[in-house]
Amino acid sequence: MPKGKDTALISWKEVPFGCYILEPGNSVGFKTGDWRSFRPVLDKEKCVKCGQCYIMCPDMTYTQDEEGYYIADLTYCKGCGICASVCPKGAITMVVEEV
């Protein structure tokens, strides 16, 4: 991809060879977070840091912070609610996203 252009609006001369995508995993540039109407909210009091939310998230949003809590990256979170449903401790609640 030519630098600075992250859409497909390019001249035919800029189409990469074979229409290949040469930047592995560049979909990180596509923010799916705005599909969300509910947001997962963590209650650290209840969390036992088991990582179920992390491993079951279809959008790979969770990373561990320094204290070991799993935090969802809302850039990608689509608000499906899987993490809340699999959490054995009920530590995640889905709350309506304010517009």
Binding site: A8, G18, C19
Partner: protein, 391 residues
């Protein structure tokens, strides 16, 4: 320099593929291509050719496996005919779009129905628009030489398009002809190792074959088309170099006795040899008849072709395929359209001949040339005529 040895053309092609040091072959048997792939599996089996031979379960999988193989950086060959080529159809378009230079020999054969194992160009003409480089061989030597050339051009980094070498089924594939196979050293000089620009390798990941949303599809196709047209120069250059290394000269358009011709026959493939005899006879009878043969079919050698037919009054295009309900055979319509903008263009008449293994004789060619003379004065009633149909 190698010696000229009598060999079945299919066997010679397999030997040439071996000399090209292919890494992977994936093929499925179909008459009249079988002798090529049988001989290749033999060469692999007895260790003469160090390659993987994938005995796929269909032609669809043959070409699919070939795409996977080239994408991984391996020199890859396949061969098919007729129904097998038709079964590949879906995947054939994908190879050039992904710039994957597979080389394939097609032993041209009629398409069903009725089922026929015999020769015509119906199979390959149905694949006119796939975006592969396509050449047609006239004889065994040329078939072999076009194989070296196909790898050389297809894998050239400025090209990176797949290539088909067409040989007439049986009438060429099964002929025993004196063929000179070059020394391995010559082939190595002509054909450098395959070093693709990109390949599937975990050390440098990339994605091949993404979704083309409407914002990019047209641009992707334009880029492909431009690159394909640019391949023409490399195709010619590779023939120049071929001459330097092997001493035989090839051009995209061949002409025979065209100096002062007013009528010419246009043909592709091995029938050209019979047509030459007809031309000789007509010349003896004082008729100014010549012959044009297209060696390169895709990309279409527009300029060289127009130059070759300059000054003609009538051009008789002989198609070995029928395009039902169309305005001509596939070559006929192409040539008419190529000449339409040319001032003083010859009248193009179109004959469909030699379908499903029907012999096309010297007399048939003479008849076509005679009819061309008739049409010099009077417009034909129909856009194309079939030759040799029993009434």
């Amino acid at each position: 320099m190698g010696k000229r040895i009598a060999k079945e053309v299919s066997i010679a092609i397999a030997e040439a593929v071996k000399q090209c040091r292919v890494d992977v072959i994936a093929a499925y048997p179909i008459t009249p291509q079988t002798h090529i792939v049988e001989h290749l599996s033999e060469l692999v089996a007895n260790g003469e050719l160090d390659a993987e031979y994938i005995t796929v379960e269909s032609e669809h999988s043959a070409i699919s496996a070939c795409l996977g193989s080239v994408a991984t950086g391996a020199r890859t060959f396949t061969s098919t005919a007729s129904q097998g080529l038709a079964l590949m159809h879906e995947i054939l378009f994908i190879a050039p779009a992904l710039r994957l230079p597979v080389v394939m020999v097609v032993a041209n054969r009629a398409l069903s129905a009725p089922i026929s194992i015999w020769n015509d160009h119906g199979d390959i003409m149905a694949e006119r628009d796939i975006g592969w480089i396509q050449t047609f061989a006239e004889n065994g030597q040329e078939a072999v030489d076009l194989v070296y050339h196909a790898f050389r051009v297809a894998e050239d980094r400025r090209v990176m398009f797949p290539a088909i070498v067409n040989i007439d089924g049986f009438t060429l594939s099964h002929m025993i002809e004196p063929i000179e196979l070059p020394d391995q050293e010559q082939v190595d000089r002509y054909l450098p190792p395959f070093r693709p620009r990109y390949k599937l390798d975990p050390r440098k990941p990339l994605s091949m074959g993404p979704v083309g949303i409407p914002e990019i599809y047209t641009e992707a196709k334009k880029a492909q088309d431009e690159a394909f047209k640019n391949a023409y120069k490399v195709i010619l250059k590779a023939w120049d170099e071929f001459e330097e290394v092997f001493g035989r000269r090839y051009r995209p358009v061949e002409t025979y006795r065209m100096e002062d011709a007013e009528v010419a026959l246009l043909i592709m493939g091995s029938l050209a040899e019979t047509a030459m005899t007809a031309v000789d006879r007509m010349r003896e009878a004082g008729k100014r008849v010549g012959l044009v043969r297209l060696r390169l079919w895709r990309p279409f050698p527009l300029r060289d072709f127009v130059k070759a037919v300059k000054g003609l009054k009538v051009l008789a295009v002989i198609d070995r395929a029928l395009s039902p309900g169309a305005t001509g055979g596939p070559v006929g319509t192409e040539v008419r359209s190529a000449l339409y903008q040319v001032p003083g263009r010859p009248r193009v008449v179109n004959f469909i001949a030699g379908l499903g293994g029907r012999d096309v004789t010297v007399e048939d060619f003479e008849e076509m040339a005679d009819r061309a003379y008739v049409y010099m004065k009077k417009k034909p009633k129909e856009p194309y005529e079939m030759i040799g149909v029993k009434e």
